[in-house]
Symmetry: C2
């Protein structure tokens, strides 16, 4: 691979040109991006997440394209979880000098693919030298209309709990990769691996949920029980999950058998699916399914599964005791 | 220093609590921040910059507080360079497990200080483990009214070139630090060092310039000649700098004598001052001074100093040939 050009070869200007070619935007290229107005009196919504190689992704497992897609999905899920519509993303990219330019281009292509699915663009960014590939994405969204944003603190007793997206797939995919690397012995389990590397959501579900009566929402990033626990705690309510509604699907059961692991663990504690989890007095919004109920009270077990105390509230930890 | 708690000791939740305590915001704490509306039909402006320890700052030279201030200043300068008003910032922070919690707190305090000077807040963020301290800040701004944003491509022949802020101080401060470390033999030169570690601008000058007739603007991040060259190239004009107007001030002359270095080098090629550089047909806006003129034509020497070709158009390079 002697002839693969690296960041050292093409320099900062060359890297930026590669990114812009892969993820073009008419809004990019000045000191800052000016986003197109969406609607009168929209409020601006913003969130950021940093993905670090070796910590959040591993290049033996994920393609750069998948890393780019994942960075957008997880940031846009946070925008959608406010009931807002994503309108653009920025990427600050750190990378070692010996990184092939193709890696940066493919990250940008993954970003262009996923931002495009939301009718948005990569509108700005920064590149710099770093010891590990570091993808820091900020998502910008717009919150139109006069309803409140979907808040962690706005669940109310008597509401339904609804979900849009897979639950447990990302964790199962991670477990398969950890055991087998990219050579999964059962090809039918590949979707779990792909979902771990680049989780998927249908664009626009947060806006739909807000428009049709949802009040609270979050995305499943730290684990189903952990994230619902956050809503329950912040809203001073209890949440009961219906076991039938979240029971491991066929792929999760099959992966559990292969790995001799209880697939319920992935469902209840996995996280990183970026599934939208909301609460509403009304019917489940389009694309959502019923998975539980909000009940009165606080203290004690805030989250139960069919009335029994749920384990797994610890969730993801960025600075674990054992590194 | 055995008893200094580190990120390993307090964990992710503890780190986030420290940041929120040091830089509180009522907009923080949900999946994403919802920014307060500024005015009807404002457009949203966004930019991002990543600072990496050892590359953009060095903890022997800069305090964490200064790093936080610098991260805001340089991002907000990009917002102001569009003629927009900063309305909030987000920080994605990567740091090693053995980083003292106090370092993170002081970075957040620096951010709170500088965002506060603009009547804004740190509205969101992310923390993760990384090999070097990595501060990735995104600034959000609002562009009200019906004038165009200040663009790199909007300089016109016949305009004045105007500047707000120091020129050359950051580079001189860096040169002093490189030679002497923190022990500068001439205490009167300390302002240059401080300016390198935490450059300063008066908040709001970009909005004032746009409101009073400026059409093009950028901030002096890569060097005066380099940055004016970008405006000249993008606008298909020439720019002539008035030598008298940018001549090294007393501190720069004194630092030049101490280091046996031509202070004009810092003025013309230094960069990182984040000085606002604009063009206007009208009088210099409040806080700005006249430093040059826009003239007709393109090709050849786009930037001159008193009519003579300017050197120094290379500017800062994130991926230098020699790392």
């Amino acid at each position: 691979m002697k002839n693969t050009p690296t960041l050292r070869d093409v320099g900062e200007h060359g890297v930026i040109q590669e990114i812009i070619a892969a993820a073009p935007s008419s809004l990019n290229g000045d000191d800052a991006a000016v986003l197109l107005p969406l609607a009168p009196n929209s409020r601006t919504v913003a969130t950021t997440d940093m993905l670090v190689e070796g910590r959040h992704f591993c290049r033996d497992w994920s393609t750069p394209y998948q890393v780019g897609m994942k960075a957008i999905t997880q940031n846009y899920a946070d925008i959608e979880a406010m009931g807002a519509r994503p309108i653009g993303a920025l990427m600050a990219l750190g990378a070692p000098l010996d990184t092939p330019v193709s890696v940066v281009r493919e990250i940008a292509e993954g970003i262009a693919q996923r931002t495009g699915e939301y009718n948005t663009e990569l509108v700005g960014g920064d590149v710099t030298q770093a010891e590990k590939i570091t993808v820091s994405v900020t998502a910008i969204g717009a919150l139109g209309g006069d309803r409140q944003p979907l808040a962690l603190s706005a669940a109310r007793a008597g509401q339904k709990v609804v979900a849009h997206g897979k639950i447990g797939w990302s964790a199962a995919g991670w477990a398969l990769l950890e055991r087998f690397g990219r050579d999964i012995p059962d090809a039918e389990l590949q979707p779990l691996v792909d979902f771990h590397c680049a989780p998927m959501l249908d664009p626009g579900r947060g806006v739909i949920a807000r428009a049709t009566g949802a009040t609270a929402m979050t995305d499943n990033s730290d684990g189903l029980v952990h994230d619902l626990h956050t809503i329950a705690r912040r809203s001073s309510v209890r949440i009961n999950i219906f076991a039938d509604a979240v029971a491991p699907d066929e792929l999760l059961v099959r992966a559990g058998e292969l790995l001799d692991h209880d697939p319920w663990d992935w469902v209840l504690a996995g996280g990183e699916d970026h599934t939208l989890l909301g609460t509403t007095m009304k019917d489940a919004p389009s694309g959502f399914r019923l998975i539980g109920e909000v009940t009165r009270g606080n203290g004690g077990d805030l989250v139960t599964v069919d009335g029994a105390p749920a384990r797994y509230i610890s969730g993801w930890e960025s600075f674990p005791e054992e590194a």
